[in-house]
Amino acid sequence: MPDIKPVISIKNVEKSYYGNKVLKGVSLDVMPGEIHALCGENGAGKSTLMNILFGMPVIHMTGGFEGIIEMDGQEVHILNPRQAMEHGIGMVHQEFMLIPGFTIAENIKLNREPLRPNLLGRLFGEKLMSLDTLTMKSDARTALNRLGLDVDENLPVDGLPVGYMQFVEIAREIDKKNIRLLVFDEPTAVLTESEAEKLLDAMKRLAAGGVGILFITHRLDEVMQAADKITILRDGTQIKTLNKADTTAKEIATLMVGREVEMRQKERAEQEEAPEGGREIAMSIRNLRVDMPGERVLGIDLDLYKGEILGLGGLAGQGKIGVANGIMGTYPTSGEIIVGGQELKLNSPKSSIAAGIAFVSEDRRGVGLVPDTSIELNMTIPAMVNQGRFLRHIGPLSQIARQEIRENAEKYIQELDIRCTGPRQAVRRLSGGNQQKVCIARALVLAPDILLISEPTRGIDIGAKSLVLDTVDRLNREQGLTVLMTSSELAELRLICDRIAIVTDGKVIDILPPDAPDADFGLAMSGVPVGTQSGGAAD
C-alpha cells in the first residue's frame, strides 16, 4: 500500500486563554482530498483550533499553545498567517477579512499580486515592479468561476452582500497556487441554502483535486452531505472522530451536546384565522426605500400584524436585510412607516427605539456589539440611554445601578445559556455564537413591542438555535411580542413564522404561508409571484 501521509496532523493540542483551558488535547488527521468536518457547540473551541493552524496573532499574544502540528509527517511551527500560507494553508475566517475599499480582484490577489517588471523594478527589485492588472483580473475571474459566482471582479467589496463577500474570501484562498489545506470557519453561516449548496459543490471539487479541507459548520445536513470524516468537540475536549458512513446527524448532535437532542419540528398552535381586515396592525410600511449598499430596498409595502411573527426571506443581495435596517434608521431611508397610529420619524434610531422597536442586527461585529465592554453593559446600554433604566438618579446626576445591571445580565446569561466566565467578561472574548446571544439579550432588555431580528441564528449551534427560536416564539405567544424576522434560512422561517414575505429585487414578491410548497418559495425567490396569494399588502 502506498504510504500517503496526512496533509496535516494535529497531535494533542492544548490551549488556554488567561488561565481558562479551551482546548484539552485535540488530535486529528486530514488526508489529501478529505473533507473533515469539525462540529461542536458554541465555544467548544473550533475557531481556536483553526486559529492555531493559521498562526493567528490572538494565539501567540495569549501565550501560544501546546502540542504538535505536522504537515506531511514533518513537524511545523506556524507563528503567523504568512508562514501558514507558505505551508499551503488557506483560511476562510468566521468574521470577514476583506479590505472594503479594494475591488474584488484586488482583494483576491492581495499581497500575491502578479508583477510586471519595469525600469525601477529591474533596478531595485520586486517591491518596485508594476502590478500586472490584467493577469490579476483573469486570475480572479478563474477563481470566481470555479466557485460558480457570476459577479464583476472590478466591483469594490464595500457594497457587496454578505453572501458574496463570503465567496470572495473563498476565491482568495483557492486562487493560491500551492494550496494544500483549506480551512473554512462557518463559511455557510451567511448563505442561503442554494448558495450553500454551490459552496459545498465547490468544496467537493477542490477536494477531488487533492486538497485537504477542514470545515466548520453548525448545519448538520451539510456535514452529512459533504464530509468524509467528522470530529466532534465539546468544551475543548475531543469527543470522537467518526466516518460519515458510520453515523447519522442525530448521533452527531447528541455527541455535540452530551445529551439527547430532539430535532423536533415545532408544531404551531392552530391560529384561528381572524378575518383579514380585522387584525390590528402593529406597523404599516409604505413605499419603503432603503439605500443599504448590496441590500437595496426599492419600494416595499408591508403590514405587520400585532402579535404575529412575519418572516422576511429571499436570496442574498435582494434587499431583505435592508428592510429592518430601514425601519431602524441605520441606513438612509425614505417612505412612510406608521407604528401604533403614529408616523415614525425616519433615519433616527432613537425615535425607532422610542416607538418600542428593538433591533438585532445581522452585522454583530459592526453594529451589534461594543467589543471591549463587558457583557452586562452591552446588554443594558440602549436601555440606559433611551429609557433611563439601570440608573440611579441623584438630582440631575446619574450613576449606573450596578446591582440591577448584574442581576439582569445573570438572568439572560442563564436564559439564553451564554457560555462565559461571568457578566463582566468583555464580549470580544466570547465565541461567535455567544456574542450573537448577547445581541439578542440586548434587544430583549429594551422590552420592545416590535422586535426586528435579522439572521438570529447566524453562527450558533443547533442547541442554541432552538433555544433562540423558542425564546422568540415564547415571547410572541406569552407576551404578544410582534416579530419581524429576517433570515437566509428558509427552514427556520418556516419553523416559527406565521407568514413569510419573500423579497426579490428590493420588492416583496409574495407573501406565503409557512407550509406553502417549496416550489412556491423557489418561484418567489426567482421573482415570480404565485397566483394564489395568502393575503397581505404585497402588490
Partner: protein
C-alpha cells in the same frame, strides 16, 4: 512560576522597562549622594501638579477622538482664568477658586468649538489637534500683548502694558494647594492638599464615566456604529468628551501653575500636550482605551523619572548647558518611547 508570568504580562513590557529604568536611576541618584527624601518630596509634588493634565486625556480617548494633542487650547483657557484672578487681586484659596471659576466657562466654550472642529475631521483628530494647539498658542502670543490686563505684577514694567513671559504667583495664589494640610515625616514633605485635590478630580471623572452620559460616550468611542444604532448621538458624545478634556486641561494648568509658582505665557504651552500623552501611554492607555488607573500609574512613573533624572544628569555632567541637554534628551526620549507604545504591545 506561571503566576509570575501572568503578573509580568499584566504589567506589560513597556512599563516594565520604565520601572527598571526608574530603579536604576534611583540607585544612581543614591550613588551620587542625592537625598532620597528630597527626591521623593519633589516626585510627590510633580505627580500632584501633573495629574489633572494627564486626566484630561480620559474623556478624549473614551469619546473616540484619541489622545488630546490639542491640550494647549484648554491650557490657554486655564491661564486666562488664572490671569483674571490675579488681575482682580485674588489671593490664597479664594484666588484659586476664582481662577478655576473663570477658566471653566471659557474652556467649555473653547472645547465645544474644538469638538465641532474634530467632528469634521474624523480619523485625523490627533494630527489636527496638534495643529490647533500650535495655532492657538501662536494666536495667543499676540493676545497676551494686547489684552487689557493692568496689574503691575503681570505687565512689562517699562512699557506698562503687554503681559510678561513668566508671572510670579507669590503674591496671589502660588502654592495654596501644596501648603494645604502639608506635613512632614522625616525629610519627606507631603503636599496633602495638592494630592487630595488631584485625586478628587480623578474621582469626579470616574463618577462621570459611570453616569448615563459617560456610558453613552464610552460606547460611541468603542463602536460608533453600535452607538448610532442604539440611539446615541456620536457627534454629541465626541463634543462632550472634547469639552470635558479641555475643561480638565484648564483646571490642570491652574493646579500646575500654583505648584510651579509661575504662570508661563507665550511659547510655554506649545509642547505641554506631550508630557500628559506620554504619561497616559506609559500608564498602559492606548489611543482608543484608557482607565483612570492608567492615568495615575503613568503620571507617577513619568514624573518620578523626570524628577530623578535631572539631579543625576547634573552630577554626571556638571557643565551647565550639558546637563540641560541631557535632561531634554531624557524627557523627550521617554516621550518618544511612550509614543511608540501607543496602541501596540498591549492587547
Amino acid at each position: 512560576m506561571s503566576n509570575v508570568k501572568t503578573i509580568l504580562k499584566n504589567i506589560g513590557a513597556a512599563r516594565l522597562i520604565i520601572i527598571l529604568f526608574l530603579f536604576s536611576l534611583i540607585i544612581a541618584a543614591a550613588g551620587v549622594g542625592q537625598s532620597m527624601s528630597v527626591l521623593a518630596s519633589d516626585s510627590l509634588v510633580r505627580f500632584g501638579m501633573n495629574l489633572v493634565l494627564t486626566l484630561a486625556m480620559v474623556p478624549a480617548v473614551m469619546s473616540g477622538t484619541g489622545m488630546n494633542f490639542g491640550l494647549p487650547v484648554g491650557i490657554l483657557c486655564g491661564i486666562l482664568g488664572g490671569l483674571t484672578s490675579i488681575e482682580l487681586g485674588g489671593t490664597g484659596m479664594g484666588g484659586l477658586v476664582l481662577a478655576i471659576a473663570v477658566a471653566l466657562p471659557i474652556s467649555a466654550v473653547a472645547g465645544y468649538l474644538y469638538g465641532r472642529l474634530l467632528n469634521m475631521v474624523k480619523g485625523s483628530e490627533m494630527m489636527i489637534g496638534t495643529y490647533v494647539g500650535y495655532s492657538m498658542v501662536s494666536i495667543m502670543c499676540i493676545g497676551w500683548l494686547l489684552m487689557p490686563f493692568k496689574n503691575p505684577s503681570m505687565v512689562w514694567p517699562i512699557a506698562g502694558r503687554g503681559l510678561r513671559t513668566t508671572i510670579s504667583m507669590d503674591s496671589s495664589f502660588g502654592s495654596v494647594l501644596d501648603k494645604l494640610w502639608a506635613f512632614q515625616i522625616g525629610g519627606l514633605t507631603v503636599p496633602t492638599g495638592l494630592i487630595l485635590f488631584s485625586l478628587f478630580m480623578c474621582l469626579l471623572v470616574y463618577l462621570f464615566t459611570k453616569s448615563k452620559t459617560g456610558i453613552a460616550m464610552a460606547a460611541s468611542g468603542d463602536n460608533p456604529r453600535f452607538a448610532e444604532a442604539s440611539g446615541i448621538s456620536v457627534n454629541r458624545s465626541r463634543i462632550i468628551g472634547t469639552m470635558l478634556s479641555t475643561m480638565l486641561a484648564a483646571v490642570g494648568i491652574v493646579v500646575y501653575a500654583q505648584s510651579f509658582g509661575f504662570m508661563q505665557l507665550y511659547q510655554a504651552p506649545l509642547n505641554m500636550a506631550f508630557a500628559p500623552v506620554a504619561a497616559a501611554l506609559l500608564g498602559g492607555a492606548s489611543t482608543s482605551k484608557i482607565k483612570i488607573s492608567h492615568v495615575i500609574i503613568g503620571t507617577i512613573l513619568f514624573q518620578s523619572l523626570l524628577t530623578i533624572a535631572l539631579p543625576v544628569a547634573n552630577v554626571l555632567m556638571p557643565e551647565g548647558n550639558l546637563s540641560e541637554v541631557i535632561r531634554l534628551i531624557v524627557s523627550n526620549g521617554i516621550i518618544l518611547f511612550a509614543l511608540t507604545q501607543a496602541g501596540g504591545g498591549r492587547e
